[in-house]
Symmetry: C2
Subunit: 454 residues, 2 copies
């Protein structure tokens, strides 16, 4: 009896596995067909970007976007939609200009953007000599006399050698975040940084900076485009260059705002599975890829569950986070509230890398759960998802990590994102319909599996 | 002695394998760094598309492009550059218009393009009732009276359900290729087809059609955009619609043209490894993704071998094929000549799917050679190439198949390609620098491995 059992057992198990795998594969196809044919994410993104546009925390446009999200979640079939109170910082840009003095004595304007959260010149001209440094190490070696009273120009280039542009962004990030603080502590008047951009054009990119708690001088920080940065560095090799900066940007305290939430209650229990993006954007462009895409993709997941009648076991919740860009108050408040309300969260995923063709899912969770999701890889491969090895999670859901919530982030192709991210170029025309929809396909498929198996 | 040997052998073999793999991995990185930092493919594509533009076979622009290719191959470091004679068809579009009669009796113009190689109306108005069919099956069921003297409108839609848009293109291809022949045989006056497009806009796409040898009437064939096609179908449900077509397109015989070839002679032998694209394009847009991209990527491969001093064992040859779009005379002539000249070709790859992020390499060769290339997969994974399973090869190199040449095609992400392919929208601004360069990275890496191992 020994041999027959050994022969039958694998066949029997194989039969179960095959048929289960086949059923899941059929459901994956149903989800994909539904979204690619009937998906509304692209039209929703057109509406959000064309009729509301960019929507920085604290702006009237952001509040308009919260009403829009409530409406779209209801249209998608959510059985419960609400706004969650969040106190957000209010930063305003106002007018701004940066000029450099040409050899002929004339002033020439450079395309520039003040960095988000930075203080400006209060509308007064700040004029000083520009001092160029390649990186932090060079800056640290400057004598104090070369810093004090000067405008320090950090021209650290986005490293094109990384295949994932996200790595290059991470590598250069400290210059945007901290240069003003480094230079302010040593008496500089302002800093100019090279934009964190993978492009070689002259588009300036904004993004969050911060002052240290012990910074006595909050000096202005502005970004210029890669082309202007290269030209400026070249000019500085042979001669002194003076700059004149004038800006009004300033932090205006806090304001009540909202994260928007919609859900389909679970038929088995009310443990929560989150699919999310952030509803705010910078105050330039249209916030199309960052992160209108993540918002409409997440709403599409809910629409698809409803439309296909998938009847989720657990509560499927779409979270449109407030204030990712300059404070992460939406994400922090959400995590505090799930603790306060003692809600159990089974899983959370965010899409915040742009609505480009999905290539992977990054996973931050126990090794057992990671291994389980990785065992589904063959189901995902026909949809172009081949990388389940990365370990990071969306900024807004990261605060849930301390409560042990398994986290994930959709990983789209990264080549185009940082050409346009945080700039005037982040507009709807950069979004491709099928690429956007495929992101929803993959998130819906993953949530289908997790909802069924966890 | 048995156990120690068993233990040592794998260690010894592992040591060789590891160190070889490690060396290849270092070389892969060198290639990638060289191209991402110093690559000139993007600037070359800007030059080709902005200063020459589209370049249909037989046009003055195409001949200008051959001079351009000779120059660029020399600049890249080819030690031999020449033009290969090719007789190509000369098709000219001329003026064209399509109007439909509105319910109020007024004529309304539709955006349209005659299909490549089709005959026009010789500048005369051809007016007839439009008869709509969804597909070939519906057409076959039409009574003769519903075809004769009518303009048949084939509205077969690009199937959005395929994940690879190339599959959807293949699926719908017969309508562009053969509809005029089907309808002409049954006495129709002309055909209108829905453009082979993944987009939902109103851009018409051209592309090659053909008449059968036994077609007595060569009726005109034109394409309209997806939006116009949808609207027209809707209108035809409730009322008769008449169309007026006027076009001058015609085939004007043959002309001497050229495929451009450049190479670095092998240091060990002169057996040939081909990397290629096609230099011609349709007579709309700029031929940027189709296939300026493949041309500049191929030249970049040669530049990289030269620049890194890789000293190829076999002859590395870049082939810029003539006339892919409406005749494949370049590819056919090239294959005939290698037979005539008794040249041994080790391998040929083409890039003709657009300069988007590479995701795979399609392989057409013996199972042994496929398996060998597939065994290199881990070397390619860090560069985003994960699919070595597909089996097809570029149109221009396919004629070499009968001489047993192992063939391949670069497989880029396919989501955006058929939105713009063969249309006014195929312009340089649709190309992303890093995506384009990564295609060269992957082809250079593959050729490095083949040159070393075959």
């Amino acid at each position: 009896m020994k041999y027959p059992l050994l022969k039958i057992l694998p066949l029997f198990l194989g039969g179960i596995l095959f048929s289960q795998n086949q059923k899941d594969s059929v459901q994956f196809k149903n989800i994909s067909d539904e979204i690619l044919v009937n998906g509304t994410a692209y039209e929703n993104l057109s509406d959000l970007t064309q009729n509301i546009g960019h929507r920085l925390s604290g702006s009237a446009a952001y509040e308009k976007a919260t009403d829009w999200a409530v409406l779209k979640l209801k249209e998608a079939g959510a059985d419960k939609v609400w706004k969650e109170d969040v106190m957000v910082p209010v930063w305003e840009r106002g007018k701004e200009s940066l000029q450099i003095k040409e050899p002929n004595g004339k002033w020439k304007s450079l395309r520039m953007l003040s960095l988000g959260n930075s203080e400006g010149t209060k509308g007064k001209d700040v004029e000083a000599e520009i001092v160029f440094v390649k990186n932090k190490e060079d800056f640290d070696q400057l004598p104090d006399a070369a810093v004090k009273g000067k405008i320090i120009f950090f021209n650290y280039a986005f490293n094109q050698k990384f295949i994932s542009t996200g790595q290059a962004y991470g590598d250069a990030g400290k210059y945007r975040r901290s240069a003003a603080s480094w230079a302010g502590k040593r008496g500089a008047k302002a800093v100019i940084i090279r934009s964190l951009s993978s492009a070689l054009d002259d588009v300036p990119h904004t993004g969050m900076m911060r002052y240290d708690a012990d910074d006595t001088a909050k000096i202005p920080a502005v970004a210029i485009g890669p082309k202007s940065a290269d030209e400026l560095q070249k000019t500085l090799k042979s001669k002194k260059v003076f700059a004149k900066l004038n800006s009004n940007c300033t932090m205006k305290g806090e304001k009540l705002s909202h994260t928007v939430i919609g859900e389909i209650t679970g038929k088995k229990d009310q443990n929560v599975i989150v699919v999310s993006g952030h509803l705010d954007s910078w105050d330039v462009g249209e916030g199309a890829q960052d992160d209108g895409a993540g918002i409409v993709q997440s709403i599409e997941v809910l629409r698809t569950f409803k439309s296909l009648g998938l009847k989720n076991n657990h509560t499927l919740r779409v979270v449109c986070f407030a204030n990712e860009e300059n404070g992460v108050k939406g994400g922090n408040t959400y995590a505090e509230n799930i603790k306060k309300n003692n809600e159990k969260h089974l899983f959370a995923i965010e899409s915040d890398g742009g609505g480009f063709t999905p290539r992977g899912i990054a996973l931050v969770m126990s090794p057992e759960k990671r291994t389980q999701i990785q065992s589904w890889k063959n189901l995902f491969l026909p949809y172009g998802v081949h990388n389940l090895e990365m370990q990071y999670a969306g900024t807004d859901i990261e605060p849930m990590k301390e409560f042990g919530v398994p986290l994930a982030e959709l990983v789209p192709d990264s080549q185009r994102y940082f050409d346009i991210h945080h700039s005037d170029e982040d507009t709807f025309d950069k979004v491709n319909r099928r690429e956007l929809l495929l992101g929803s396909v993959v998130m819906s498929q993953l949530i289908y599996m997790i909802d069924k198996n966890w």
